[in-house]
Assembly symmetry: D3
């Protein structure tokens, strides 16, 4: 499937090639995954998305492995199979152990369950959880 | 709002009281938040949900703070305002800094964006991300 | 909130009044809930939506109470607070007991949990579940 | 796809084997579907999930067929293809007729439509639907 | 996959055949896509869905191409791969250019990102956005 | 509610002030809505989000009004009440008529309905909708 053709290395505009070069450099790998090959039809969105992702996933206060796990959690709740596969692979590459993965899955499932119970019951937020009330 | 009345401490069955006692003991706090007061109409679901949550969020391979942050990430993607408020408060109580919270938000937003781009484009999963292909 | 003004009975076009009359007749109640008062700005969508709902929720193979419970289940998963409140009220009016409501909630929560676990794990559908394979 | 290898019967730990034995006993069938074979990497989550599912789907106030139909409804709204296929098969096995299935589909679609209309319009919940106001 | 068999032209009831004839006439094409062949098991839902779709997508105030693009946007957010493929094809058939498609994708991704940031932060609606305040 | 305090004009860092100045200049209005006042706790995410939004919503191939309507459509499907209110207001400010708004709502509802029907039925994508098959 796919609503656009995935572009191969010899079908790229110079703008796209520059982004691919940067992806390869930052990731220290020659591999360009399909997401970027699909986005390559629109150099502006490709550039903006890559620059944003690079900034967001850069080393910071959180462990890079944890960042990938958060990415997986969101991707599961949004039902994005591609993203789940790619970020689970990344989390593993950055050191996620089988035990950590098991806990991630357990939390994702548990959160889904209580999210829906809370929503079904229409539970009002406790004053204690409000930022203003904590002032 | 709420589709059921929130039960106060003097309206509880003995089964529910036992669960509330355990929540207070495990959390070392007298505070019982509204979710449990709404679930208290059904002692069986209350018991099962609390036992599961206790198991899932218990100390393990992941930092308790990270567990709460994963819970927040899922809750945002599911649009559960109550859960977002309660687990953001818990993450802060367990040490989440403003910088870490900022990174959490940035990842949640970024993942949402790429999740939807990937879905819109129908990008096929790269062989490199498949578990079998890694064998 | 609301992105449009809710129309009161003395602000209705004759087309809208005719739909409201039918709602009152079918439901045997004078009460018109806010959803219809918001939709009333667009007589065509109001008419089509009411006619469809009337057909879908009419007596049929399933118990009317079960129909409302299915409506609640979907509304929870879509996070529609208004719909949850209105269809939970309807399910109760049609005889849903506290025990049945408890089971509905438990199933909604459990389904959410396993839905997300399955999605996270990317579990392939068993051949036994495919219609063709059952031929 | 799948982010983990599905475990076959000769790759199971004794803890997992015990859960599989119980699944076979409760379901009175030798067939273990892929979901459990994927979860089998984490005996604790496997055990908790199976125990919870067994409790939630056990005979109770609601017809077992209706329980499966509620499970399908939630799974559709969450976009879990695997779950839709497995619980549609279960609902049929428990007696769901073609007419009942048709009504289920019609309700799921209709609820999705009105859920989104209500959300788009930001319709405020009528006082009549609030539990407190009914006191 | 599919939970029902797709019906071929020689398996149709006369009611279904009449709907298919109308689809062919309105679309001026002999092609009936799989969605209708799956819905064909339930003539009533098939008829109601086609009549509604015909009314909603008929020429009106909005450009037919824009209508298809709005359909794609919703389908992406709901994660319906089939609908994304079919309505992206329709939008192209109705004149959507590559530049317009690029902007559609960028907006869908951007909206997803800010939707989740807003939800995570629990931002209260500004009075200026409320319809009442504009009176 | 809100998980952070909304920052007023006299609580801003110089980095944030610079972004707010740009928002005011681009929008030719002194009004800064709550979303930016919540994001203001993290100047980097504020800057990146504003720069991206400015690029995505800038005049291009699509009518600015249509861009806002696409934004509303996605926000409804994601259940973001704030975003629905703010972008519905923007679409109106950019010329969306009542008739166009009515069609937008009808499409959003209709798409939701067919999205879920398709998902429930597991309809396979027709070859005719695949990009490759069109080559």
């Amino acid at each position: 499937m796919a609503t656009v053709k995935l572009l191969s290395d010899d079908e790229l505009s110079s703008e796209v090639r520059a982004v691919f070069d940067d992806i390869r450099k930052v990731r220290q790998s020659d591999f360009i995954n399909n997401f970027w090959r699909a986005l390559a039809h629109d150099p502006k969105t490709l550039r903006r998305t890559w620059d944003s992702l690079k900034e967001v996933m850069a080393p910071g206060a959180l462990d890079p492995k944890v960042k990938e796990m958060l990415y997986v959690a969101v991707s599961v709740a949004h039902g994005c199979s591609y993203c789940i596969h790619s970020h689970t692979a990344s989390a593993r590459a950055k050191g996620m152990t089988a035990a950590e993965y098991g806990e991630l899955l357990a939390i994702v499932g548990m959160a889904a369950e209580t999210n829906r119970l809370v929503t079904a019951l229409g539970v009002p937020v406790d004053a204690a959880f409000l930022v203003d009330s904590a002032d």
